[in-house]
Amino acid sequence: MIRLEARQSVPGWLRLAATAGAGVAALVLVAIPIAAAGVGVLDAYALMAKGAFGSVFAASETLTRATPLILTGLAAAVAFRAKLWNIGGEGQLYAGALAAVAVGSGAISAPAAVMVPMVLVAGALAGALLMIGPALMKLRFGADEVVTTLLLNFVVLLFVQMMLEGPMKDPMGLGWPQSMPVTDEASLPRLMARTRLHAGLIIGLVLAVAVAILMRRTVWGFEIRAVGENAAAARYAGVPVTATMVRVALISGALAGLAGVGEVAGLKGYLTSDLSPGFGYAGIVVAMLAGLSPLGVIAAAIFIAGVFVGADSMSRATGVSNYLADLVVATSLLCVLVGGFLTRFRIRLGRG
């Protein structure tokens, strides 16, 4: 008989061993499709590592892809802490991006010192506003936020398309539905020449620390945790549950909105309706992998980004269908999930 026993505490070596074990397991599993596609497995892994971290360029690409994931990951982590299941990061990201181009593509002209903060605030505000609806529908009518935020993703994306084909269309875009470019003043600075690294990464890192402090050290964080863990007891003890929920919704939406700002004002320069390949949804995975820890989000985001970038590059170098990249990400994700499990429980065989 197999039994599980919760561990009282998790020793550090075990955490490391589990993570390493999960990595190895993922590699073994992924070897199956790689071999099936007729590629040398070890070569493939060498190429994968090289593609993710093997050069300054590779590492910069990994970090660039991690940047929005850190922010959407934080958005999910904050909300999930309060048991507010915000699945709408994708929509909030687009809302943030839309607001950023609305403000930052020439409608207002001011020096960078004014424009950059303005663009950031606009994006955060838009993301936050988008969360008000689901939060109020939840608190007022009990409408499940998983559903409302999920469905709003589709609505927002359509709204963005509508804007891009209508009032916000770039007249110089030759009819292509894209926004006017973000002006140089409103763009986030690049961090390194010949790479796509931009200041969004710094913003993400700073906010991760800020959110960590918020959750651990402040009254708001205390109340968020209390509401998330036991809303009834929190309400009984006088914690303003509704206000806390709204606050969390706003913070979460704002963080996801900032991810959109980074992508549009830091990376692409203008908004199209295919700005994000699902960063909002990936943020949920990042947050849960990190155990909802804000600092853990950074590591999880870099992990997910690195695996994707590396596997994608490997598939290209070996000529295997690049659907392999997603397959590797999915397998790694599930393996890491199981690895985390092994740290929490001891498996015992038999009785006694």
Binding site: T218, V219, F222
Partner: protein, 513 residues
Amino acid sequence: MTDRPPVLVLDGITKRFGPLVANDCIELTLAPGEIVALLGENGAGKTTLMNILFGHYTADAGRVRVADGAGGLSDLEPGSPGAALAAGIGMVHQHFTLAENLTGLENIVLGTEPVLRVWGGRAEARAKAARLMRESGLEVDLDARIDQLTVGERQRVEILKALYRDVRVLVLDEPTAVLTPQEAEGLFAVLRLLAAKGLAVVFISHKLGEVLAVSHRIAVLRAGRKVGELETAKADRRAIADLMVGREVAASRRSPLEPGAPVLELDGVDVAGKDARRSLHGASLLVRAREIVGIAGVSGNGQAALAALIAGLAAPDGGRMRLNGRPVARHDSRAFVEAGVARVPEDRHHDGVVGAMSVAENVAIEDIRAKGFQHWGFIDFAAIRSRAEAAIRDYDVRCPGPDAPARLLSGGNIQKLILARVLERDPRLILANQPTRGLDVGAQAEVHRRLLAARERGAGVVLISEDLDELFALSDRIVVIHAGRLAEAGPPEALDRGTVGLMMAGHGREDAA
């Protein structure tokens, strides 16, 4: 009776949870027709032992043996409730194991029918359940969903569920904690009847009176060990308490005090709840400083509405409410806390603590926004910690430390934690809703002492309880609640239990007396 061959033998049962030894080599033998009471303080290991017997837990050492048809004993498969049920063991769980989205009947038949059956069988089940209800006096609406039932009704379903199985051994883990005295009496009658027919019963309770009334034999656990076993006929309260606690438990005495200014006034208050249980009709109540007003009543008669009102969770729909002589401006928890109302919730696990947060955080939760505990929105952890350490020390909260998650605490210790949280603020009004439910004698005495001490320091107390002993011992005045209406019964000295019992059943003060 004990000379009959045993139906069940627990043999050297040992169970550890990490470093804690919850059961230490426990032996227990049960003969058919015997009612054995299992006693012990909160956390002594009673539930753990029964959970092993029933297969919820797997013992680290030892075995459970049950009588087989051939007159011998055979080992019960460990860790399998299915096997226990098949061997004729039934269990009434301390914490309900009911699916709230199902009806009572559905909960009763769950698992008794072949899982893959496609048709029929429900009519016989209903008839059998109805018969059981008649015989036991435990009446519930079998077709009402569990979430529509009061705790007392749920407990009845939980018991019916076990009886329905036609068991040889019945384990009852604190079955009376939420039953009225009359209901408990009904249950005992059934137990005696079934025992006479050969059922073996393990009965767990913290109410010594019940134990003495119903059991044949008493086994006492302390800190995971069996410290004694005696014939009930030869036992007395004091000896049992000594065995359980290892010391004598002194009952608190209420000293006469002159009441002060009104702290809570309800004047013709209406609360329109979802159903009769959650409603109040023209309720008037006066609570003054230095007095304890006991609210007696059968559960589900509006206590929840009254408690919500005094806790600041609900606003009256009609009538007037005054706190400390002033009309209430804001009906919300925080405003009430700030107005000096201490609130002890009925369901301490659900409303009392945030289990995942630390003991220290749970002690500080009502004060977290107060000066001294935070500066500019940043928490002063040193202040919180020292407050928690004081609370742990002064209220004897047994826990690994202020940073341990509150969910690890036993019910009694959670209750002490809540008392430490609310009483340290020198409240003017205290709402104590079922404050000793499920607590052992020692913990009960501690809660009583705290409430009396607060009264002496000048607080007014509203004590809602279904335990008449407790009400008679602590209250300066008793008010009876029935069908959402409050009726003054008077000081306990001028009352007898029969009168209060009749008033609880809906009779007026005059015809009751």
